[in-house]
Amino acid sequence: MTRRAVVTGIGVTAPNGLGTEAYWAATLEGRSGIGPISRFDAAGYPVRVGGEVSDFTASDHVPSRLIPQTDNWTHLGLTAAAWALEDAAADPTAFPEYEMAVVTASSSGGTEFGQREIERLWSKGPSWVGAYQSIAWFYAATTGQISIRHGMRGSCGVICAEQAGALDAAGQARQLIRTGTRLVVTGGADASLCPYGVTAQYSNGRLSEGADPSRAYLPFDVGAAGYVPGEGGAMLVVENASDALARSAPVIYGEIAGYASTFDPRPGSGREPGLRRAMDLALSDAELAAGDVDVVFADAAGVPELDLQEATAISAVFGPSGVPVTAPKTMTGRLYAGGGALDLASALLAIRDGVIPPTAGVTELAPGCDIDLVRGAPREARVRTAMVLARGYGGFNAAIVVKQTS
């Protein structure tokens, strides 16, 4: 019998809600977590608005031994992973340690931690740089700390593909389940709202310089002028369907039915970007037709040219306004490695509750963006199958199809 990867647990640390249900309630109510950056004095920076996870205190959620040796990004990931396992009622001590794995995405690494250590280096000298810098900054830190904390010693890894990373991680999790791993923690988080992190992000030329939090990030809108960066993300517990049923997992949110990733042709080649191909490949991987998809969670770059590319790809696959499209990330900002994971969580919750969360702020679609963008209020709909799209800076595209399990 084919092994099928299903999601049995969700943990969310998002700017507009800590915990899955808090996030979901806020998202359905259209409550945004985007506001003026408070973590540092951003007055002198071109980017002054962000999606901060402001009500998060690491010591409430992360063991004391782990706090000094890890970045805020890892604190958020550890917290989401623990919540996802709790949600799945999966006790890691009840699973063979080599049959559990962790695959997360990372985009910035531990920049806030790194900035602190670099400041010490400059102001006090090399001996003041902490030993933990060696393990806190690097991309695999969150995967490694989750693996150590929960005793998951199977095939662990980290994927760096900017905003597309968490979808690639979930695709890898599915592959591990298919090849015999019993449980995989997957997803991603990022937290790079420090001067060093924001400056690095700003170099891509896509960040919004808008000062009004409600108007700074308007994907597909005539007023689109970049995106707002955010922090946080989500973790998912993925298991083989029959194993999850056998252990009476409390919830099966849905199956990771299709996945594909593509890479863009070189800039200026004139060839079509890779997003549409990722969508087509994910659909055929899921053995589904475009008409089977009930909602698309868009990448929603917030950059006019990229919005048009995405709307064009969606229309090419589904027909003009052929499928409801939404971008709840308008209430969190783009979370980089956490973005695809949070969208996956939202897609699974949309399936659970039969409701499509709204896109905030967008009032007038840009010319050429012929999509049925869910706006203003959530839309009740029978959601059996959802597609999640993500594009990572540098040419990464990924698409995942999740579907209700019977």
Binding site: P63, S64, R65, P68, K124, G130, Y132
Partner: protein
Amino acid sequence: MEQLGSFTLDDLRDIMRACAGVTDSVDLDSAIDDITFEDLGYDSLAVLEMAAKLQNHLGVVIPDDVAEQLPTPRALAEYVNVRLAPEEQMPSPTPAAAAEAR
């Protein structure tokens, strides 16, 4: 903790808490003098971090290979005390001194 000299076990406890945290199952306020750092939940990186803090705050040089051979809080505190002249208990290190200490 007189036997440990001017740098006390409580001073060390503060440094352990501040730079490496505490494992849930460990009570740092109990008699930890002769329990190994490993049994207290501190790996080699944690010990290096403590040694670096001691070095920066007290001016006592603890080379990495030496730090790795100080298995318990008592051994670490004694190493510090032997090298800590009474009048130099809490010097404020300058960047130059810190760089030199490396």
